[in-house]
């Protein structure tokens, strides 16, 4: 009897605990701060379609990632960059490009038409543009940087961040409302453009050294060394001016040497001569890079300080209260830089220094400010490359898009990448879409990290 009582008591407890709706529930999905809009200044990493017009749109591109909603292929392939994800999470409208248009080559073929009138879109507040730099108006993709004789030009407008901010202030009467979320992210194109200049300079220095060495080795055994010296130099320089590579320059030099009467010695020692000249060229190129590397680092430091200044004076100074400033991710781990490692082993170290110098100046310039959230994407991106598994990344070193075949991707950029020109296999968890731009999955990781930091700042 008494044991029965105890069992009944237990049973009562069990019944009591089993009642009520017990299923998992989402809870309150509204953020602590109700932002009124998202205003973004930056480069390709934040661009939501400044160039999604003409041929770029016709070829299924527009953003610098794997374009288009391909979630039917893989849930990760949303086609969205982090600004779109953050806006959606905050309950804000999908961001749209504040300025659209291209200044490139015109074509009657819609897929090749890169001349589309530039339009300012009144109700769009994402000013970020592919190729944009902090201050300098000429960035990657700008027509001013096209190679001589290029048949196709994208004509990216590359409006720099400083002008982007000015354009917004023009639109709003010189003030931020104070209730918008402002996002700033730049510096990558300053790195790429400076590297491009360094590479061009190093190539020129290497070419000059190559020619000098070839002339020095080939002229003395010619019939008339003095005239041969001039003839060989002229031939080699002509080959270089025509855009010839080192092999073309070498061939031109040997041909000129032969015409000047140096055939036997040249032929007998051909391999040695080429090796000596190539070594001289490599040394000259490396010396150039070494000599000019510090200038690049200094230039990036300057750009970082300038960006901090724009944030403080033009953005916070004009009434913005919530400014997310993403620092520059670690460009040194990108496929683009990795691909140059064989030719320029020191490039990774140089780029890493450029990035860290930019970020140091940016951070120092921003200081501690309740209205500014400095988000350290550099550390995260570096960690992702060295420790990809926890992030869910399956590849951090090669692009998901086919970028080395112009028949598949005319520009060799993620700007024209979509589900139809991806490398084979499952690329849904790749870190990079092309040489420098994130995949949608990586953009989602970036969005999560920014939101985590916004939470830490007490904003959401």
């Amino acid at each position: 009897m008494r044991k029965t009582s105890f069992a009944l008591a237990l049973l009562t407890a069990a019944v009591l605990t089993a009642c009520g709706g017990t299923d998992p529930r989402p809870g309150d999905q509204t953020p602590k701060t109700k932002f009124t809009q998202q205003v973004t200044f930056g480069d390709s990493l934040s661009d939501v379609g400044s160039y999604a017009v003409g041929g770029v749109a016709a070829m299924g591109g527009g953003a610098y990632t794997i374009n288009g909603d391909a979630t039917s292929v893989s849930p990760e392939l949303t086609g969205k960059n982090y600004t779109a994800l953050v806006a959606a999470q905050l309950g804000l409208p999908a961001p749209c490009a504040a300025q659209t248009g291209l200044l490139g080559t015109a074509s009657t073929n819609p897929a090749l038409n890169f001349a589309v009138p530039v339009t300012m879109n009144a109700n769009c507040y994402n000013y970020a543009q592919g190729g944009a730099r902090v201050t300098n108006p000429i960035g990657p993709g700008n027509r001013a940087l096209d190679k001589a004789g290029a048949t196709i030009s994208l004509g990216a407008t590359t409006v720099p961040v400083t002008t982007q901010i000015d354009n917004h202030l023009k639109k709003t009467g010189g003030k931020f409302s104070g209730t918008e979320l402002v996002i700033v992210m730049a510096g990558g194109n300053d790195v790429l453009e400076q590297l491009g200049e360094l590479s061009a300079g190093a190539t020129t220095a290497g070419g000059t050294a190559l020619i000098t060495s070839l002339v020095q080795q080939l002229a003395p055994n010619a019939t008339n060394p003095a005239t041969a010296q001039q003839a060989i130099a002229l031939a080699a320089q002509t080959a270089a001016a025509q855009g010839g590579d080192s092999a073309a320059i070498i061939t031109a030099a040997f041909t000129a040497a032969g015409q000047a009467g140096n055939t036997t010695v040249a032929a007998a020692n051909r391999a040695t001569i080429i090796a000596t000249a190539s070594a001289a060229a490599t040394k000259a190129g490396t010396d150039y890079s070494t000599a000019h590397g510090p200038e690049l680092v200094a230039a990036l430091g300057k750009a970082g300080a300038e960006l901090a200044g724009y944030v403080k004076t033009k953005i916070v100074g004009n009434g913005a209260n919530f400014v997310v400033v993403n620092n520059l991710p670690d460009v040194s781990i990108t496929p683009s830089v990795l691909a140059q490692m064989t030719q320029s082993p020191d490039i990774q170290k140089l780029v890493a220094t450029m990035v860290s110098t930019f970020n140091q100046q940016l951070k120092a310039g921003l200081g501690d400010d309740a209205k500014i959230l400095y988000v350290d994407l550099a550390t995260v991106s570096h960690d992702q490359a060295t420790n990809p598994a926890p992030y869910g990344l399956t590849n951090t070193t090669t692009p998901a898009c086919i970028i080395n075949d112009t028949s598949k991707n005319l520009l060799g950029s993620s700007l024209l990448c979509n589900k139809n020109n991806l490398v084979s296999g499952d690329v849904s968890h790749y870190m990079f879409a092309d040489g420098v731009h994130p995949s949608p999955f990586e953009y989602a990781l970036i969005a999560r990290y920014i939101l985590l930091q916004m939470s830490g700042k007490g904003w959401i």
Binding site: M1, R2, K3, S5, F6, L8, A9, L10, T12, A13, A14, V15, L16, T17, C19, G20, G21, T22, D23, P24, R25, P26, G27, D28, Q29, T30, P31, K32, T78, K80, A84, L85, V86, A87, A88, Q89, V380, D383, N387, A389, P390, Y391, G392, L393, H429, F441, A444, L445, A447, R448, Y449, L451, L452, Q453, S455, G456, I460
Partner: protein, 226 residues
């Protein structure tokens, strides 16, 4: 039927079921019921949330205190069985480690059902009777509730709020405690229960997280001998 219940009703029910025993504390065939409070404090060792996540994305779980009724029945003068019933414990779940900045990410209601077999020292007439117990617990987790920040950190901008489910577990508990008689009918009861709880959290994003909760339970109650 609501989970919360009226403690008084239970006391009446237990009293009605019970057959009055002697004046001695927890002797053979005797029912006692004590009512008080239980602080349930998880001793958390969190595993990392599975990919995709920042490395070392771990969690922490807060404590909660709720009213409790402890029901004890003497099988012999020294051996007793005990259970405790009460309202669910609402625990806050926090980000920790790499996601500490996430703050409170959710809540969960825990309902541990426990049955203990106890050994009580000294004579039933002793004023002070320490005891030890060993038992089984069913750790039940309900109403797991996410938040804006949980969604923001796991699946931002997709329009799909992240939810999570914590596995219920059968497990074991150990107890030490003491009963102090105030007079013939009334007594004070204090006990500490350690329960082994190793469970897994399953997020709607297909992420998982292993959690060692191993809660400490501190019960203080005032009882009556029937």
């Amino acid at each position: 039927m609501k989970v919360r219940f009226n403690v008084v009703k239970l006391l009446v029910a237990a009293g009605a079921l019970a057959v009055a025993g002697g004046a001695m504390a927890q002797s053979k065939g005797q029912f006692t019921v004590s009512v008080g409070a239980n602080m349930l404090k998880p001793d958390v060792e969190s595993g990392a949330i599975s990919a995709p996540a920042l490395p070392n994305s771990i969690g922490d779980v807060g404590k909660d205190t709720q009213p409790v009724a402890v029901i004890t029945y003497g099988l012999t003068d020294n051996i007793s069985v005990e259970t405790a019933v009460g309202t669910p414990y609402k625990h806050k779940i926090f980000g920790a480690g790499a996601i500490e900045a996430g703050g409170q990410l959710g809540t969960v209601k825990a309902l541990p059902a426990i049955a203990l077999l106890q050994y009580r020292f000294f004579e039933p007439t002793a004023r002070f009777r320490p005891f030890v117990g060993l038992g089984i617990t069913y750790a039940m987790f309900q109403k797991e509730e996410g938040s804006f920040r949980m969604t923001a950190l796991t699946n931002p901008g997709a329009g799909v709020p992240t939810t999570f489910k914590i596995d219920d577990k059968w497990t074991v508990s150990g107890q030490i405690g003491a009963q102090v008689s105030v007079n013939e009918k009334w007594f004070l009861n204090a006990s500490y229960i350690k329960t082994r709880v190793r469970t897994d959290v399953h997020f709607s994003t297909n992420q998982t997280q292993h959690m060692k909760l191993d809660p400490d339970s501190f019960i203080l109650s005032v009882g009556y001998k029937f």
